[in-house]
């Protein structure tokens, strides 16, 4: 019960800050813009698709629709969402230190573990809402704007997914993307417990993210040995939800690594937070 109340408090605090809405405002503006641009460039995209598959298929109707538009947008945004999530996760502990409100909160008859857990829960709920909103906006608005239908996926040839199958695969893709974003939020929380201002954790999270992303994506032999152990290697695993058959083993291997990183970052953060002296 106390955890529920504390989490309620944390969500209340998160959503009372303007910075928590920056991502929502950004997506509300840019997703319709991309969907509009996607519609304007449909004939060009259709031409490219038709020329690449003309020797195999005869396409009746348009190969572009709401599903392909949502897939197109997902490719762009999974690299930018971490920054927006770090704004909230990075502030969750450090912001309270900076404001001095931790002094007030920590003197109440509640354990530090409860405070920590409630902040983690609230950050993950925010992350879920954020990803859900992103999915709803891209897929929902995409389908309304450009309609539904079969979805063409280019992987080892051309895969045609029926409308209902495509929708299910989007849910799978969003789930794995959400778990990746949970890791980003965990890293932000980790940095947030270490410092007393909210800027440091945001920069720290992004610096670590960019560094590991670079190492995991560089096509250099020297890094190949460690790339399977870097979490960013699996940040594009959502694409595998559109393969046929879906490589579940690969997906869950990636998820396992992501979850082990979540546990590691949160575990260290908890140790730091429980031992922390609140002096100022």
């Amino acid at each position: 019960m106390i955890l529920f109340k504390l989490t309620q408090n944390e969500l209340y605090k998160i959503f009372s800050l303007i910075r928590s809405y920056i991502g929502f405002i950004l997506f509300t503006g840019i997703v319709p813009l991309i969907l509009w641009g996607y519609g304007m460039g449909t004939s060009h995209i259709e031409g490219q698709i038709e020329s690449s598959v003309s020797d195999m298929f005869f396409i009746e109707g348009s190969p572009t629709n709401g599903f392909t538009a949502a897939y197109f947008i997902m490719n762009f945004f999974w690299i930018h969402i971490p920054f927006l999530l770090a704004l909230v996760g990075g502030d969750i502990f450090a912001g309270e230190h900076a404001n001095g409100t931790f002094r007030v909160y920590a003197t109440r008859p509640i354990s530090r573990l409860s405070i920590f857990t409630s902040k983690v829960f609230a950050t993950f709920i925010y992350t879920f809402i954020f990803v859900f909103y992103f999915g709803l906006l891209t897929l929902g608005l995409g389908l309304i704007w450009h309609g539904g239908g079969d979805m063409l996926v280019f992987h080892n040839g051309v895969l045609i997914l029926e409308s209902s199958d495509a929708l299910a695969r989007f849910f799978i893709a969003y789930f794995f993307s959400f778990m990746n974003m949970v890791l980003v939020s965990s890293i932000a929380i980790f940095f947030s417990t270490m410092v007393r201002n909210a800027v440091g954790p945001v920069i720290g999270t992004m610096a670590l993210f960019i560094f590991i992303l670079m190492v995991s994506s560089l096509p250099l032999e020297v890094f190949e040995g460690i790339q399977p152990y870097l979490f960013t290697t699996y940040f594009s695993n959502w694409e595998q939800a559109f393969y046929d058959p879906i490589p579940w083993d690969d997906l869950f291997r990636g998820l396992g690594l992501v979850l082990s990183n979540v546990i590691m970052f949160l575990g260290i953060a908890l140790i730091i937070f429980r031992r922390k002296d609140i002096l100022s």
């Binding site: 106390i2 109340k5 504390l6 309620q8 408090n9 209340y12 605090k13 009372s16 800050l17 404001n99 001095g100 409100t101 002094r103 007030v104 909160y105 920590a106 003197t107 109440r108 008859p109 509640i110 354990s111 530090r112 031992r275 002296d277 609140i278 002096l279 100022s280």
Partner: protein, 320 residues
């Protein structure tokens, strides 16, 4: 450290007081920050129902002890009880206490009411009636929907007090609650502390380096120097320990009074001031001096004892 062990590490000057069944009892608390020994085996006892002044110069260790009791930092050694619950039981020790450490800070983008609601929710003391009653008690009801960032420092401090009263505490720990306030703000907070202590029946543990402030409102005190407890007891008992005191005499004829004082053997130091005469005298000799002055037909308008606590404080420091 046990209570019996802690008893062996009591301060050099132990003044008898009503120590039975304390609201707060500290047993041999030590805390070190790198090379600085902030607290060195501190044991003290805060009687229930008292307004207890915890005194010491800046850096003496007052805030460190308060932070230990409030759960903000962990002691290296020792433990404490709050109303019979040991700190060894974890955060439950703070079930019946509340603390306002340093200056009050808030979620500035939220209103006074919302700030109260957030903290009240933790302990289940978040009913509208309860929150509004406390805001009213501290004179903030009319401003309850205003964002805290529009509040003056004095109002923030009052809101901090209101927040600390949310869980209906039996012990209220206040760390220099008048710091940063103007004289009017200080006066208001002092009045509220007295009001809370009497109307809410709360024991108050108050740290301050403002001796005059403590002298005005506290019934018991403890003094700390360099992390070590130097004295503790009731204010009454402590003043009995003071030999020479400084008093100010406001008289009709200063010249005649000065001549009289120079002749008398009761006074050790005489300093003429603009509107009064300051003298140093043994505490027990004050009635005799007044009798003699009256016999000499010197019209006395007032006899005021100045800075009793300051004198005591300084004498302890000099003795260190």
């Amino acid at each position: 450290m046990t209570e019996s062990e802690a008893a062996t590490s009591q301060p050099q000057i132990q003044i008898e007081s009503n120590q039975g069944n304390p609201a707060l009892a500290c047993y041999g608390i030590s805390k070190r920050f790198k090379t600085i020994q902030a607290l060195d085996n501190v044991s003290l006892s805060v009687p229930r129902g008292s307004i207890f002044g915890f005194l010491g110069p800046n850096g003496a260790g007052k805030s460190t002890l308060i932070r230990v009791v409030a759960g903000l930092i962990a002691a290296d050694e020792g433990n404490f009880d709050v109303l019979g619950t040991s700190s060894l039981s974890g955060h439950r020790v703070r079930r019946d206490m509340s603390a306002l450490v340093d200056r009050a800070d808030f979620y500035k983008n939220l209103s006074a009411y919302q700030n109260m609601k957030i903290l009240g929710r933790i302990t289940g003391h978040d009913s509208d009636e309860h929150i509004n009653r406390l805001l009213d008690l501290l004179g903030l009801y009319e401003r309850r929907t205003d964002k805290v960032k529009t509040f003056s420092q004095g109002m923030k401090q009052r809101l901090g007090l209101a927040q600390s009263l949310l869980p209906d505490p039996k012990l209220l720990v206040l760390d220099e609650p008048t710091t940063g306030l103007d004289p009017q703000g200080m006066h208001e907070i002092r009045d509220f502390i007295l009001k809370i202590a009497t109307e809410q029946n709360v024991t108050i543990f108050l740290s301050s380096h403002l001796l005059h402030e403590v002298e005005l409102i506290c019934s018991d005190i403890a003094l700390i120097f360099n992390g070590k407890l130097a004295a503790q007891g009731s204010m009454q008992n402590i003043f009995r320990e003071i030999d020479n005191v400084t008093i100010e005499l406001e008289v009709e004829d200063s010249k005649a009074t000065l001549t009289f004082l120079e002749k008398t053997d009761l006074v050790s130091q005489i300093i003429p001031l603009a509107n009064a005469i300051s003298i140093e005298i043994h505490y027990n000799q004050i009635p005799e001096l007044i009798r003699r002055m009256t016999a000499e037909k010197i019209n006395i308008f007032s006899v005021s004892q100045r800075n009793r606590l300051e004198n005591y404080f300084l004498s302890l420091m000099e003795g260190k």
